[in-house]
Amino acid sequence: MALLDVVNLTRDFGGLRAVCEFETRFEGRELLGLIGPNGAGKTTVFNVVSGFYAPSAGEILFQGKSTAGLKPHKVTALGIARTFQNIRLWFDLSVLDNIRVSQYYHLEYGLWDCFLRTERYKRREAAIAANAHEILEALNLAEYAGELPKNLPYGLQRRVEIARALSVKPKLLMLDEPAAGLSSADVDDLIKLIGWIHKEFDLAIWMIEHQMDVVMKLCTRIQVIDFGQTIADGTPLEIQANPDVIKAYLGDDAI
C-alpha cells in the first residue's frame, strides 16, 4: 500500500484550471521534489493535499484511505504536515508554545480536565511539553524555547517552522520552498538539515523548491509542472536534460 497516492487531481478556480490531472505516488519514505515556474500550481497541489482546498476532481489516498471531505486539521492528524512558502508561525507565541499548540491533534483531554486540572490533564500537558522540548533539542533550537519567533532571524524562523511541522509526528512532510529567502550559507545548512530529518525521523518528504541546488542534491525523483500540467517526471539528471523543462523555465528561444 502506498503512503500517498494522488490520482488524477484537478483543481479549478472559477474558469482557471490551476492543477490538471496531477498524479504522484509515495511508495515509502522517498524524498520527492515538485518544481515549476511561478504560478504553475505547485502550492495549489499542496493546498489540496493538506485539505485546505477540496479537489475539483480526482482523489487523494493517504495510506489507502481517501482524505476527501476531511478538514485540514483532520488531514494533519493523519500524518501530513507542511510548512508555508511565506513563514506562518504564530509570531507572538513563544517558540515552545508554537510547538505545543501544533500537538493539538493529540491533546486527549477535554475542557473539564483543563478547568479541574485533573491527573489526565497534567499527564498529557507534561507529555506534550516533553515532546516539544525533545523536538527543539533535536533541531538545535532548545536555547530559543522562550523567545518569540518574531524576534528570531529569518533562517531560525524557517527552522522553527520545520520543527513545528515535525511536532505533528508526520509520515509525510511537505516543505513549500524551504530555501526561499535564505542566504547561501543557510541554504547549505538547510540541505544538511532536510537530509538529516529524512533519515532521522524516517518520513517521506515532498518539497517545492526553486533553488535547483537544493532539489538536485536531495530529491530522488522530481516532477515538473507548468500551467497546471505535469510536463516531466524523473531523476534529477533526467530533469536537467529535459528540453520541455528548459523551455518552461527559460522560454523557447533558449534552445
Partner: protein, 341 residues
C-alpha cells in the same frame, strides 16, 4: 509555601471585605461599588477572551448578561419567593444559601447556550461581521424579554430582594458580597486555567494565524465555539449577580451602553491580558463613581479617554502582557514558571 500565597491572599482579602462590611467600616455605598467592581471584573475578563485572546470583535456582551440575569432571577423567584410568581414557593427559604451558586450557574449555562446559537451562524464570518451579528443578537434578546409579559416585559422584573433576605435570615452576613467575590475568583481561575493550557493557547494561535492553526491540527471551529461559549457563559454569571445586587432588572439595563462599557474596560486594560482586564475593570468602576456628578457628561469623558488611548497606546495599558510580565519580582514571589521556559 509559595503555592499557598495566592489562596492565602484571596481568603484574607475576602475576610477583610466581609469584616469591613459587617462592622460598617465601609458604608453601604462603598459596598455596592465593590460589588459592581467585581461584576465588572467578570464582564471585562470574559469579554477579553473573545476580543483580546481570540481577536474577534463581539459587541453583544450585555445580551448574554441579560440572559443570565433573567434566567437566574426568574428561577430563584419561582422556586423560593413566597407568594405570587408561578404559585411558589416550592422550596424552603433556607435552601437559598446552598442553591444560589447553582442558580448563578444555571444563568451562566443558559447564556452559554445562547452564545452557541449566536456563534454557529457567525462561523463563516470574521471581524466586522461577527460584530454585526452580536449586536443584532443582543437586540433580539432585549426585545424578546421586553415582549414576555410573564417576566414583566419592559417594566422589568423584581423579587430578588426576597431571596437575598432569605439568605440573611439563615445567617446575617453580607451574602451578595460573598457571592460576588466567589464568582470573581471562580472566573479568574477558570479563565487563567483555560488560556494557559495547550487547549487555550489554540485561541491565541487562531488570532495570530487561523489558517496556520487549522493546518497545524488545531480544530479551529471547536476552539472558537468553546471560547465564545465560555465568554458568554461567564457574562451570564455576571448578569445573575447584577440582578441580585440591584434587586431589580429591566431590559433597559442591558443595552448597547452596557456592552460598550465592557468593551471600554477590555481596550483600556490591554487585549489578551487577564490582569489588565481585571485592573481596568477596577479603575473603570472607580472612574464611573468619580465622574457620577457629571451625569451624562461622563459619556463624553470616557469615550474621549478611549480615543486618546487608541491614539497613543492602541494595545491598551498592558497589551497582551500580564502583571507578572511587567513586575518579574511578583512572578518570583508567586513561584510561577516563566511562560515558555
Amino acid at each position: 509555601m509559595r503555592r499557598c500565597i495566592v489562596p492565602l491572599v484571596t481568603v484574607s482579602l475576602l475576610g477583610l471585605i466581609l469584616a469591613a462590611s459587617v462592622t460598617d467600616a465601609i458604608n453601604f455605598y462603598w459596598q455596592s461599588v465593590l460589588m459592581f467592581m467585581g461584576i465588572n471584573i467578570i464582564l471585562s475578563t470574559s469579554l477579553n477572551l473573545v476580543n483580546g485572546n481570540m481577536g474577534e470583535f463581539s459587541c453583544g456582551h450585555a445580551g448574554f448578561m441579560a440572559v443570565g440575569a433573567y434566567v437566574s432571577s426568574v428561577l430563584a423567584v419561582a422556586l423560593f419567593a413566597p407568594g405570587g410568581f408561578l404559585g411558589g414557593p416550592y422550596l424552603p427559604g433556607y435552601l437559598t444559601v446552598f442553591a444560589f451558586p447553582l442558580l448563578l450557574l444555571a444563568g451562566g449555562l443558559a447564556a452559554a447556550v445562547t452564545g452557541l446559537l449566536v456563534a454557529l451562524p457567525s462561523f463563516k464570518t470574521r471581524g466586522d461581521y461577527l460584530a454585526i451579528i452580536t449586536i443584532a443578537a443582543s437586540y433580539i434578546i432585549k426585545s424578546t424579554i421586553e415582549n414576555v409579559g410573564a417576566v414583566g416585559g419592559a417594566r422589568g422584573f423584581m423579587g430578588m430582594a426576597k431571596i437575598t433576605s432569605a439568605m440573611t435570615e439563615v445567617w446575617n452576613i453580607p451574602w451578595m458580597m460573598l457571592w460576588v467575590f466567589a464568582a470573581v475568583v471562580f472566573t479568574l481561575v477558570v479563565i487563567r486555567r483555560y488560556v494557559s493550557s495547550t487547549f487555550g493557547k489554540g485561541v491565541d494561535a487562531v488570532r495570530q494565524d487561523e489558517i496556520a492553526a487549522e493546518i497545524m491540527s488545531v480544530d479551529t471551529d471547536r476552539v472558537k465555539l468553546v471560547t465564545f461559549m465560555l465568554s458568554s457563559g461567564l457574562a451570564g454569571i455576571a448578569g445573575g449577580l447584577f440582578a441580585f445586587v440591584l434587586g431589580y432588572i429591566n431590559p433597559g439595563s442591558f443595552t448597547i451602553i452596557k456592552s460598550t462599557e465592557a468593551m471600554v474596560m477590555v481596550y483600556l486594560g490591554g487585549m489578551g491580558s487577564i490582569s489588565g482586564a481585571a485592573l481596568s475593570a477596577v479603575a473603570f468602576t472607580l472612574l464611573m463613581e468619580v465622574l457620577r456628578p457629571m451625569q451624562v457628561g461622563k459619556w463624553v469623558i470616557i469615550p474621549m479617554m478611549l480615543i486618546l488611548l487608541m491614539q497613543f497606546r492602541p494595545e491598551g495599558f498592558f497589551g497582551h502582557r500580564e502583571l507578572t510580565d511587567i513586575f518579574p519580582g511578583l512572578r518570583r514571589l508567586l513561584g510561577r514558571e516563566e511562560s515558555g521556559k
